[in-house]
Symmetry: D2
Subunit: 461 residues, 4 copies
Amino acid sequence: MFGIFGSPDAAGMTYYGLHSMQHRGQEGCGIVTADDSGRLCCIKGEGLVHEVFDESRISRLKGSMAIGHVRYATTGAGVIENVQPFMFRHGTGDFALAHNGNLVNYAQLRSRLESTGSLFQTSSDSEILAHLIKKVPDRRKQPRIYSLIEALQQIEGAFAFLVMTSNRIYACRDSNGLRPLSLGLLQNGGYVVASETCVFDVIGATFLRDVEPGEIVTIDRHGLRSNFFCEKCRHAMCAMEYVYFSRPDSDIEGRNVHSYRKESGKLLFDEAPADADIVVGVPDSSLSAAMGYAEASGLPYEMGLIKSKYVGRTFIAPSQELRDKGVRMKLSAVKSVVKDKRVVLIDDSIVRGTTSMRIVRMLREAGASQVHVRIASAPLRFPCFYGVDIKSREELISAHHPVEEVRAMIGADSLCFLSEDGMKAAGCLSDLCLACFDGKYPTALHGANNKIIKRSLCAEL
Amino acid sequence: MFGIFGSPDAAGMTYYGLHSMQHRGQEGCGIVTADDSGRLCCIKGEGLVHEVFDESRISRLKGSMAIGHVRYATTGAGVIENVQPFMFRHGTGDFALAHNGNLVNYAQLRSRLESTGSLFQTSSDSEILAHLIKKVPDRRKQPRIYSLIEALQQIEGAFAFLVMTSNRIYACRDSNGLRPLSLGLLQNGGYVVASETCVFDVIGATFLRDVEPGEIVTIDRHGLRSNFFCEKCRHAMCAMEYVYFSRPDSDIEGRNVHSYRKESGKLLFDEAPADADIVVGVPDSSLSAAMGYAEASGLPYEMGLIKSKYVGRTFIAPSQELRDKGVRMKLSAVKSVVKDKRVVLIDDSIVRGTTSMRIVRMLREAGASQVHVRIASAPLRFPCFYGVDIKSREELISAHHPVEEVRAMIGADSLCFLSEDGMKAAGCLSDLCLACFDGKYPTALHGANNKIIKRSLCAEL
Amino acid sequence: MFGIFGSPDAAGMTYYGLHSMQHRGQEGCGIVTADDSGRLCCIKGEGLVHEVFDESRISRLKGSMAIGHVRYATTGAGVIENVQPFMFRHGTGDFALAHNGNLVNYAQLRSRLESTGSLFQTSSDSEILAHLIKKVPDRRKQPRIYSLIEALQQIEGAFAFLVMTSNRIYACRDSNGLRPLSLGLLQNGGYVVASETCVFDVIGATFLRDVEPGEIVTIDRHGLRSNFFCEKCRHAMCAMEYVYFSRPDSDIEGRNVHSYRKESGKLLFDEAPADADIVVGVPDSSLSAAMGYAEASGLPYEMGLIKSKYVGRTFIAPSQELRDKGVRMKLSAVKSVVKDKRVVLIDDSIVRGTTSMRIVRMLREAGASQVHVRIASAPLRFPCFYGVDIKSREELISAHHPVEEVRAMIGADSLCFLSEDGMKAAGCLSDLCLACFDGKYPTALHGANNKIIKRSLCAEL
Amino acid sequence: MFGIFGSPDAAGMTYYGLHSMQHRGQEGCGIVTADDSGRLCCIKGEGLVHEVFDESRISRLKGSMAIGHVRYATTGAGVIENVQPFMFRHGTGDFALAHNGNLVNYAQLRSRLESTGSLFQTSSDSEILAHLIKKVPDRRKQPRIYSLIEALQQIEGAFAFLVMTSNRIYACRDSNGLRPLSLGLLQNGGYVVASETCVFDVIGATFLRDVEPGEIVTIDRHGLRSNFFCEKCRHAMCAMEYVYFSRPDSDIEGRNVHSYRKESGKLLFDEAPADADIVVGVPDSSLSAAMGYAEASGLPYEMGLIKSKYVGRTFIAPSQELRDKGVRMKLSAVKSVVKDKRVVLIDDSIVRGTTSMRIVRMLREAGASQVHVRIASAPLRFPCFYGVDIKSREELISAHHPVEEVRAMIGADSLCFLSEDGMKAAGCLSDLCLACFDGKYPTALHGANNKIIKRSLCAEL
């Protein structure tokens, strides 16, 4: 999610901004600009940023204000209608909206709205905020910010929202601060708002501050203004942003992601040393933790796994038959490096265990004499309802098997996870959301979701 | 506009159906199908039917029921958001909607709906019916057909609507019958509904009957049922459907279009004979009238103008400079045919006069000694508010100039139009809508439109 | 085939020129330009002209001289390597070549060239001329025109060749004049050379003269020069150019194609009148003949068959199953026109008879009471070795069946063909090539071809 | 370059093979297969492997034998005509050819061939071998291998050639062994030949042996056979293959590339230690050397530079204006990592110095207090005539400036290069081609090239 205000080339900047957050979503993307006359213009499509946009399309998006979005399908269908930003035509002014996160009381709100005649065009939970804003009674007589505050107060879950009208951008963050959202300053005095700070370096902006939990930052020609839509706020940043999701050159709530990961690798060595010859990380997200482990252990850090940099979405994946014959495109083990070596393999997490199993086997086939797996986070045992794509407990190998069983299933010589305390210590943070590790959800869960979690909790007992 | 019920290959049939109505709109097109579980699936895009759809896309549209639409931009922006059918997600069942025509009280209705919280996603007048249906109070307790009747009663203008739910298609036509809509029967007992009957021949269906003005035909597994949403109905079919818009192999309200045009050519000769050597029609829509004129006059009918059949939307149009140098892609005069001949040129209508001027000049450059222009309809003097793209009176040369001045402007040796009586006689019809010829609009015009027409009428006096 | 010399926008003009000859080949197309420094630049691809070229590609083709080609696959594989023009890199100067027609001693020449080390990159017969030019001994000491003359003298068959060097275009035509090639004059004094004269009207050029059989016209900054590479020449223009291949607005050897066809329709009535109500032509190539027949007979000429103008190459063709169910995209009969009528159906030729059979059946299904088929050319009984795609006698229904049997097979009430004398009389020409009708080939046939023809002739006896 | 013999899915395997050598060329690529009847089929295009090929195209390439090529434009124009493999049609059997490297006596050979009538279709030096093979006299009477040997004996330079006929693949390597070429064994007994061994892991083959300098390996249904086309051979592998060009998981002449690079980093520390806080490598090719330097020095290895993994060829590059404003897409410095640190920056080479300058500046702007640049190869001072894209001495900063000047120009606090002895020691190799470092070319240079090098050497004195 990216927004910009006061840049002569707003669409181009948004393009670069979205591009540097491409890792957050590859399903689709879109940009809405508002030109000087306040007219909104929207282009979106399925695919990567550079597939959806080219120079001619960017040049059709005129104006000094824009919001953009890259889509990461958390709900089933990756269809075009759910690609954001959403744009709404309204007699009091058109507006556009982009959302990162997941709402937990979405079904209840939608049902209530429909019963009074609201019509939805998508199956996305993100559309709901727009309807809530417009349903607030007497909205013509009060400033729009009050409608927005009232609407946000009805929503529960994890979110960062950008709402753009013809002359203003509103940037909002949920009261638990589960999803990141940061403000930056352009050289020319304009403003940027983005899900990750790495964007600021890319487009030449400087980091200003994070949007606070429960805050609405209004950006317009008067500069920045702040409102809070809720009184009780806390900092419970999603731990997976550090572990896996964000780019290593981003800072989240003041903590650099690469540094967090490297530190987690060091702590992982302290908690679980291994008698081995070399340290190998799974590219790309586990390399920092592997460096930390290597440094703490004094073992050499080696490039024992190579990830092809040209494997993209449009690539023809080898058929099962070809895979059985040994065709491996994405990741390959470097024989000359791992042959006859005892390898410590560092990965960021284990979800279903299938990937770990495959990598361990690959290393053994390449000649590794032992493979000791070390995971730079705790075992994943609970589903996430806040937008990280870990659907149900059924898929989580650690929800059903103790560590020793998991070790046997993936075929490793030893297996250890970083403790939850270690995860917090790596960031010097006391208030991470660790719900997918410990099941302590920071919000109510409502309706349908409760069923899943209840079933999960029952199974737990 | 096309709908089909009860065909195992509904999407494919819709593809062929839309394709054979391509002449009704080249801006964009879309298809929505409902599969056996009642799930709606939609694909649409900008461009011609064969550009938007290929086999893989058609195969993704599963189900035995479908509606489709080709878009002809009557309002400015040809943007993708306005390409139909529109699809709506709703707790009581998703539904889709396609519309042919133009609503005259659209602005009033939209403003009223927005003031009670409705959110529009397009700038199209067609979206309004969906909101009206859902705004009808207590709609859950009564059958959906009542909501539809109530909604249609609020709408004024020219329309044919198709509404598809998970198990049913509703086909509706306005109370003046301004836009055509016909029912056909598939060989397997399924039903088809289409704007033009030529579709039935193409897909192997047989013509059943027209949807009546003011009628709602419900098509579902019980067969056809009929409701009327209004009591006073009349047959005032748009004359331009005969003159220009429809395909010659379609029948409109029982009258074949080619036959209508040929008859209009004969009557045109009766009203306005010309002393000439050959008769030439402007391809493609004026060929039938030219045949009729030739037959009545005994003059040879010749191919004096050739239209390139490969000129499509994606073609690079010659620049003004190249046009000045003589580059003409679309239409060319056949020198060997028209050289030293007195030509009767038959065209279907004159809008701004620029095309006629160009063709007359082209014929003279190719050696024609005289060019007598005969138009197989009356002079266009009033704008259409019902969906035919004749924007304002400013553009209509006949609104501001008597016939003799028009003749001089287009450079013809003589110029005659068919009379309004002739237009009716050609179809044996007493109840055509001739509003763009005589200014007698069959509905109220409401708000903004009134201004245009008032200005026009003032200029008239 | 198209060439242009001395136009500031040579590539653009070639684009329009090729586009207006699109009917001569839809497989692929290409353009080679020579810029002011003499550098040749080539772009080609599979598909229609407007699919292969867009504005950016045309703008990359700089220079005031160009040749272009549209490919019509006479030999099996429609592969990209065979799309022309061909470009050759050579130390004495690069050159490009385009060819229309078919060479009969190609296999012998190629075998001879390969045995002395020549390497071919395509399977096309058109490449041979380039190798022959470069194989002429001592070619560096004599002007290039002598190499060209010597090379052309070795080739037998039907051809029109364009050869472009860095500063010159050579336009050549075979000694029997089987393929057309005409010269035109641009308004700015530049020259155009094209397979059909309709091109001249399109790009604003005026017809100058035809290239003569056996002539090489050299076009460069000195203007036009003429050489003849053979002494005994005759005019034996391919009859199918008049009957089917060329556009009606082209003139071939001074005779307009539409006029030829209309006259052939009149003569056809004289030879074979029919007792009927209406005359219907098969669109598009038989409309002129139908007009002639109608005019001579006094019967009304009606639009009883409609061809969809949006059916293109990329269209999804209905499956056999759908066709059996009645889906017909390309051509449909107009029920209201043909119902209860005795129809004279005019077509240009019958090849395998399947299309005729289908159209007759379609007319009957649409209600025609009788269908009298009249063909505006003689029965096709022999294969063409000169570039028209009539492969073998096996496919030609008239090669194996007398007229009465053919009539029964296509299901017509009566069937008549125009006589060969009628074909000549329509053009006031004594010297058409009628080889595919009468088996009298104007050249030797050589090797493999002889076998086919011999087998055919045996079967004949 | 990739070849495969005896695989049921030859085209698919070639696709994966080329894909894993994508780093060797991104301009274009092609595949030629030979099907069971010996018919060759070729598809090629401009762009990346996954852009040129999709499943439908791969499935059209039938047969159990294939060769493929990725193009890396060493000569100016990246035009489609120069994309390999080249295919030749010939009476004695079609054949295809792919080439990696650069020929130094190309101009002389081509001129000689053209003077006896050979026609070239490309401006590539690779086409020459095909013509030489076919020019060998009496070639029909002797086995084809003799023609190939005679042809190869005339060629000088760096090359690996694959020649495929209807039933056989020939794999050849130049007599100095400048370009790599290795043989692998498929699980089903078939053979693979590839420029890099990383391919074998990817497609599940095992490394067999390298093709020797001066060797022709014939692969057909009889298995492998070996011929030598020259008697005096040596091993002078291009050093840049180790330093920059090859993938880290490839082995070249028995030495793993990652291990070579890591060792070179260690030796670089021995030769040029730096007083610093962290070691940072330039991604991707310098990461191994950086690991080695860090390990030898005991300094932490940090991710101080991030390369965006989504930057591809089709990406919109920021304009100069945007770059000046700070937009940086490809590489960014991680502020939190380098801030207030003394950084050792490891790169693999310095060509023009502009990239190094930009990275040093970027690190300083991100807060690095000192930047010590260490290059894991010697200074580049001479052009390469063997296929590595280092065009002329003019571009090589180290050809004109001593190390201290270069240091000042790139703005580093210190700058050291690895010695040539160090380069050899890293690989335990005595016989690398180090021509671009020391000017000692292993072959004669011929004509035009000599001029460049002479000018260079003069400037040197």
